[in-house]
């Protein structure tokens, strides 16, 4: 399918889920990296006449940022209900690092990275992760627990691409891509489209499902000198450290109030580093935190309960927000029995093939990762 057809499929499903018709939607926001359809075509295919649209350049960390932009567009009176989508053929067309395409000439600033075979996201982030291991004693087997947890979650997600549970030994025995990243420390490449609907709370309350209420957003918030992450240290600290005060004060909650997290897992290390810098553990203790069981279903604060980018599929962040909406609705689409009225009866039995709904979910947080130098975040709650 084309990214245009994928986008239409995802948005149609999101509108149907919300109980919205084409005439109810008048804003369209999309992000891409020169690899996807422009939103006016998608709006046209869906019968939407936009009062506002915008196609933004970017990947990870765009989801939460565009949710904030949608809120602003609505408050500015530009439109009333916005769909946000990302549509990508991340496996069949535009792969990470350009695998399968002829090598383009190395020009200008690229002589400082591509000329060294240092360009893919894994290669670019690796010196940050390695220095974290050096400074704080973070161990490969600790960080591998992120994959273990997310594979456990994916095993209870019938829609996940990689549903097989893995062990720490499996992660460490998978082939090394670039230190410290084994194959199973890396996310998967996926053809997909994903969509979110943002509308004022009064309107949302009249729609099909209980709304997820937005408490706070930060969008593409930067470290000082985001263009010089490696020269302006400490390089083991992500933008999350600067985003955290704005996020928590804006949302009116703190890390201890959060029941479920969605920390971007382009790599096991990105999840770990962000949880650390958003304050779920002390600086340098992210390895111990993710290895403690806290981030698994049944633990204190599960992360990426759908399986995330490591196991469910790579969506540049949208699916992690979608999953937290499911958790807040208490409607994770696992294999638990469904009553005649359509409500799922969750068992909270997290064994393989079982439940993935967290028992008590009042507040969720999403942490989008662009690079170590900038990121976005979103706090949502159940409607009181």
């Amino acid at each position: 399918m084309t990214t245009r057809a994928l986008a239409c499929w995802a948005i149609r499903n999101a509108m149907q889920d919300a109980g919205l018709a084409s005439r109810d939607v008048d804003g369209v926001l999309a992000y891409q990296m020169g690899d996807s359809v422009a939103s006016p075509f998608v709006a046209g295919d869906l019968g939407i006449r936009p009062n506002f649209f915008m196609d933004v350049q970017g990947g990870g960390s765009s989801t939460e940022a565009l949710i904030g932009v949608a809120m602003g567009a609505i408050e500015a009176g530009m439109c009333s209900t916005v769909v946000i989508y990302r549509s990508m053929n991340g496996y069949s067309q535009s792969r990470v690092g350009g695998t399968g395409r002829a090598e383009a000439p190395v020009t200008g600033d690229e002589l400082h990275d591509r000329a060294y075979g240092w360009r893919s996201p894994g290669q670019s982030f690796a010196p940050t992760f390695m220095r974290h291991m050096y400074e704080f004693g973070t161990r490969p087997e600790q960080v591998a627990m992120v994959r273990v947890a997310h594979s456990k979650h994916a095993s209870n997600n019938p829609k996940a691409l990689h549903r097989k549970r893995v062990t720490v030994e499996d992660v460490l025995a998978s082939r090394m891509i670039c230190t410290p990243l084994h194959l199973l420390d890396c996310c998967i490449e996926t053809d997909n489209a994903t969509a979110i609907v943002v509308t004022p709370i009064e309107r949302a309350r009249a729609l099909r499902h209980p709304p997820a209420v937005i408490l706070g957003v930060v969008g593409r918030l930067c470290k000082p000198r985001p263009d010089m992450h490696f020269q302006h240290g400490p390089i083991t600290t992500a933008a999350a450290k600067w985003a955290a005060p704005r996020l928590w004060s804006g949302a009116g909650v703190g890390p201890n109030d959060v029941d479920v997290t969605g920390s971007y897992d382009a790599f096991t290390f990105t999840t770990m580093l962000q949880l650390e810098d958003y304050g779920f553990c002390a600086k340098g203790e992210g390895g111990a935190y993710v290895a403690s069981g806290a981030i698994e279903l049944g633990g204190r604060r599960p992360n990426n309960t759908s399986g995330g980018h490591l196991c469910e599929g790579y969506t540049h962040g949208v699916s992690m927000v979608v999953e937290n909406v499911r958790q807040l609705r208490h409607d994770a689409d696992d294999s638990c029995p469904v009553r005649p009225d359509g409500r799922r009866v969750h068992t909270y039995d997290y064994r393989e093939g079982g439940c993935r709904q967290v028992r008590k979910v009042d507040v969720t947080a999403n942490f989008g990762w662009g690079t170590p130098a900038y990121g976005s975040a979103l706090v949502m709650s159940r409607d009181a």
């Binding site: 090598e103 400082h112 060294y116 075979g117 360009r119 050096y134 020269q231 302006h232």
Partner: protein, 172 residues
């Protein structure tokens, strides 16, 4: 005229309009590492660019550097993404902290340059040499010729300045 070259089978090109990169790589072709030094605050910067990252002023000159430093972090690439590097795995991408301006203008700041581990002649280092380098290794700059006005700066083990402690390597 654009600066062009070939390196490991890759076509390299710097546009006429990109004066900072053209100058930087022309110095490399002469065997010199020079970085922009701000005329206002006297601080050096990397990578090359139009404004001082520390005081936002634009006037600069090209300051000669010693070309010596230590590995601050690295990644050992075993799976090459770019076709040009498939024949060279495993290779090291080093983040080298140069000796000048460490801890300036603030504690965690330094000139840290990306580059591969190479042999003294500029060829990428073979696996047995790759295995000896880690965080803390002392290195010095070398240049791989890539055209009449273009050379790629790389780093080689600086045996003359090797420290007493073993470098930190990824635990395997």
């Amino acid at each position: 005229m654009a600066v062009t070259g070939r390196y490991l089978g890759m076509t390299l090109s710097i546009a006429d309009l990109d004066g900072e990169n053209a100058s930087y790589f022309r110095y490399c072709a002469q065997g010199e590492l020079r970085l922009q030094r701000c005329k206002a605050c006297a601080l050096v910067r990397y990578p090359p660019g139009p404004a001082c990252p520390w005081c936002a002023r634009s006037a600069f000159d090209w300051a000669p550097m010693s070309g010596r430093g230590a590995v601050y972090s690295y990644t050992e690439v075993r799976h090459a993404v770019q076709p040009a590097f498939r024949a060279h795995v495993p290779y090291l991408a080093l983040l080298v902290e140069v000796d000048e301006q460490r801890g300036q203008p603030s504690e965690h700041d330094a000139i840290r340059m990306i580059g591969n581990l190479a042999m003294p002649d500029g060829a990428l280092a073979p696996p047995d040499v790759v295995r000896t380098i880690g965080i803390g290794s002392r290195v010095r700059i070398v240049f791989a010729p890539a055209g009449p006005e273009l050379a790629i700066p790389l780093w080689t083990l600086d045996a003359a300045h090797a420290g007493g402690t073993a470098p930190w390597r990824y635990p395997e």
